[in-house]
């Protein structure tokens, strides 16, 4: 069961923000907790949408909720939120900002539709777990994307992520939407 993009995602244009292939399947990081309905204006306010630079967008991540967020976090930290994370705009600046800030993955009870598809298409690892109440801010999590295991190292408790539909897993396995398309074209050529 694959829960997250493979290393090929990093080859997608200039949007790459990760290096080191091992990072993709497992990561450890500190939890930053957020409420329900975190919207894209909170993730990256529209006043910064006049750029697509990951570093700059990363430096303003979540700033209208917590103006020092991007300064406080360490590379690899994890966002844990309630339901409907990423509601609002279609802006992929949200994913670029989260990645640019150094966040390794986002765990939520549910994701808003466009945010979900953008994360899948772009290769931002996301996991849905039933109930985030057991996870506290500051806990350390170990996330295994291939098994869907979210281990709370502070609480010594394991949470299981919901598995993704096969179709979505295919896009993820290809390394994001554009690689999936490239591969399909290649397949079509081979079929000829």
């Amino acid at each position: 069961m694959i829960f997250c993009p493979t290393s090929q995602v990093a080859q997608l244009g200039n949007l790459r923000s990760w290096t080191g292939k091992e990072m993709y399947m497992k990561f450890k990081g500190k939890v930053w907790k957020f409420k329900d309905d975190v919207n894209t204006d909170e993730i990256i306010p529209a006043r910064y949408l006049n750029t697509i630079d990951p570093k700059e967008l990363g430096s303003h991540c979540m700033e209208d909720i917590d103006k020092d967020f991007s300064k406080k976090i360490s590379k690899g930290d994890i966002i844990v939120a309630g339901k409907n994370f990423g509601c609002g705009s279609s802006r992929e600046h949200a994913q670029i900002s989260i990645k640019g800030a150094g966040i390794s993955c986002v765990i939520a009870e549910s994701f808003a539709r466009i945010f979900l598809r953008n994360a899948i298409n772009m290769g931002l690892p996301i996991l849905e777990i039933e109930d985030i109440r057991g996870i506290k801010e500051g806990d350390y999590l170990e996330v295994d994307l291939s098994s869907g295991s979210v281990m709370d190292l502070t609480e010594h408790k394991e949470h299981k992520a919901k598995s993704l539909p096969k179709f979505i897993q295919e896009i993820i396995k290809s390394g994001g939407l554009l690689n999936w398309i490239k591969r399909r074209k290649l397949d079509a050529k081979q079929a000829e």
Partner: protein, 420 residues
């Protein structure tokens, strides 16, 4: 097999023999839309793949409407990416400032979207075109890049919630109030991943502009799309724009399956206001009469059309905007602008002490042309009142229809249009 209108449109855009909610499909698109915020990322990704050609230069629309006329150097650079891409790929539907309008008002007005179409747009309010009986949904820049290359999009066939509106509307109540009331009832994720189908005698009686306002805000309930079966009003709208009626007028079958059906008696619905900081915080306007405002915004892809300006002008005629309040009116398109001038609406706004601006998304998403300071409150005909949406994180936005926004500008506090 009985299908909903949404399922029928999706099926017609694949080579499949049948579809069902939950199926993943790879569907052909009739139009792919991008703006000055989202298209630059799509174009960068398109170019990074090494693609040389777009799938169809007639089926791409590029509308620099968010931060234009360019509000700063960086915005100018972003808008310029669109202009260059359009030139390079000979994209017909690129709209420069002066011919531009807020995308979701512009495309229906010029007939780029129509009944039975499948449209994707890298803008969450792309769901607006469902008002014409199209399947239309917001996607991201990566989807848009993929659409530019292949002319297709991956979609999960959504379940549909049917909303049935019966009865006759009260004075000063329109599509905006119906949708705010609906979102208030089901919540900001009440239709998550689902299609919202609006039906009933009250919908049949709604003008196209009101239908656009309703479908525009489907995303504010988490919806994938909003849709209304096209009818004689749709047909009349298309003809009035001077075009031939084409496209397929799909209808939902008797016996089509719905996730649920929710019914409303619209004769009980007052003009609505959504309090900060979620569109779902809606309640009758009478509950907000103690809220003083600093600014009133009339415009956006939700309510910047000619009938919105007409209703505002009806209230503002011969009146003055409260001395503490800024009234900013932004027609959604050049055509709406020109019409408002011809009909004398612009004069009414100016005489009242308001501002009448060139088309732009402007302050709706905190871009420019009316940003709020810390502690300020605005009433706006826009679609989102998230924290900081229109400016400072400590400012507040109340959502309403244009009549309420106009009445509030005069009173200096949130007001029912009947008070004027």
């Amino acid at each position: 097999m009985a299908y909903t209108i949404t399922e029928k449109i999706l099926l017609a855009h694949t080579d499949k023999k049948s579809v069902a909610p939950g199926d993943f499909i790879y569907a052909r698109i009739d139009l792919a839309l991008g703006n000055d915020i989202t298209a630059p990322i799509a174009i960068q990704e398109f170019e990074a793949t090494g693609a040389m050609k777009v799938f169809d230069r007639r089926k791409i629309a590029l509308v620099p409407d968010h931060f234009t006329p360019a509000k700063d150097k960086k915005s100018a650079e972003q808008a310029n990416v669109l202009a260059r891409f359009a030139k390079k790929h000979k994209i017909i539907n690129y709209f420069e400032v002066g011919r531009m309008g807020v995308e979701h008002a512009l495309l229906p007005e010029i007939g780029l979207v129509g009944p039975g179409d499948l449209i994707i747009g890298a803008d969450s309010h792309t769901c607006t075109y469902g008002a014409l009986g199209a399947f239309s949904t917001g996607i991201g820049s990566t989807d848009l890049a993929a659409g530019f290359i292949t002319g297709c999009v991956w979609l999960k066939v959504p379940e549909t919630i049917k909303f049935v509106y019966s009865g006759k509307l009260k004075p000063w109540v329109g599509g905006k109030d119906l949708i705010l009331h609906t979102i208030g009832g089901i919540g900001v994720d009440g239709a998550l991943y689902m299609a919202m189908e609006f039906q009933g005698e009250a919908i049949k009686a709604l003008s196209m502009d009101d239908r656009f306002s309703m479908c525009n805000m489907a995303i504010e309930a988490g919806g994938k799309s909003g849709i209304i079966e096209p009818d004689e009003i749709t047909e009349k709208y298309i003809r009035s724009e001077g075009r031939k009626v084409k496209g397929v007028f799909y209808k939902s079958d008797e016996g089509a399956r719905y996730r649920k059906v929710i019914e409303y008696d619209v004769s009980k619905i007052e003009p609505q206001v959504s309090a900060p900081h979620l569109p779902s915080n809606s309640a009758p306007v009478s509950r907000f009469k103690k809220i003083n405002i600093d600014q009133s915004i009339i415009g956006s892809c939700t309510n910047g059309r000619i009938s919105d300006l007409r209703v505002a002008a009806k209230i503002l005629k011969g009146k003055k905007v409260n001395s503490r309040v800024r009234l900013i009116i932004i027609p959604a398109t050049q055509k709406v602008y020109s019409q408002a001038v011809k009909e004398g609406l612009a004069d009414i706004f100016l005489n009242a002490g308001g501002v009448f601006s060139t088309p732009s998304c402007g302050p709706c998403l905190g871009g420019h042309l009316g940003i709020l300071a810390s502690g300020e409150k605005a009433i706006a005909t826009t679609n989102r009142n998230f924290r900081g949406r229109m400016g400072h994180p400590d400012s507040e936005v109340y959502l309403s229809n244009p009549a309420v926004a106009a009445a509030s500008a005069i009173k200096g506090r949130i007001a029912h249009p009947g008070e004027i």
